[in-house]
């Protein structure tokens, strides 16, 4: 992974740890998968784009459909010992990328956040193409 991507993704999450690549388990069963299951496999890759998930955290990052990205984070508050969670939805709209987060005013992202989202989605595409779909991300052709 290039240093540029590492830096960009660190800016999204505040996580400056080492990002890790994703390798699809070689024993993936040869069964039919639903779209939901494919998204779950993609999200395993997506969750690791921002570096190691901290212990006790659960993270999902995935492309829901042609217009939506979901970033979900779940963790235990050390003070209250209660589970906390946060969901951010990025909606692709004609006028920009709308960031929708509970408790926050909707806003169109711009600047570094927008660039970082592009970096994250590009890495996601490249890694799921290889790791989930066994295809060359540049050509779309099946890999040998």
């Amino acid at each position: 992974m290039s240093n540029v991507f590492k830096k960009a993704l660190g800016l999204i999450t505040g996580n400056t740890g080492t990002s890790v690549g994703f390798t699809m388990p070689k024993n993936r069963p040869l069964k039919k998968l639903t779209e939901r299951e494919l998204i779950q496999l993609e999200s395993e890759i997506g969750s690791k784009l921002f570096g190691e998930v901290p212990k006790g955290h659960r993270r999902e990052f995935f492309c829901r459909d042609e217009k939506t990205w979901i970033w979900y984070e779940e963790w235990t508050d050390p003070k209250t010992n209660k589970r906390q969670n946060m969901t951010v939805r990025y909606e692709i709209q004609p006028s920009g990328i709308l960031k929708v987060q509970e408790g926050s005013r909707y806003s169109y992202i711009e600047g570094a956040e927008l660039d970082n989202l592009l970096a994250a989605t590009t890495m996601y595409y490249e890694q799921v193409a290889r790791g989930v779909y066994n295809r060359d991300p540049k050509t779309g052709q099946k890999l040998a």
């Binding site: 494919l38 004609p94 909707y106 592009l118 989605t121 595409y125 991300p137 050509t139």
Partner: protein
Amino acid sequence: MSEYPQSSNDKLTQLNDGDEIYTREAREGLLSLDEVRRERQRRAFEKSALDLAAQQSGQTHNAETSPILTVEQKIAANNMAIRALRDAELSGQAA
């Protein structure tokens, strides 16, 4: 206060799924009807770019380096490329 009519029969409610939240914002008064109209006008122009991006995604998708797209359009191109991967997988399984 929004100019957006409250009637469920209003034409804006007939827009495609991509406008769902957008129209909701209009209903909530975050966008005026004029803003909604302006954005709808932009769609025609942007659609051509996104169509081109979709074509690229099917063959030589490279949103990072595509010089003709905005950042937003490159992200949209990534989404469409991912969707194409899923569809290809699902159709391949069904075959």
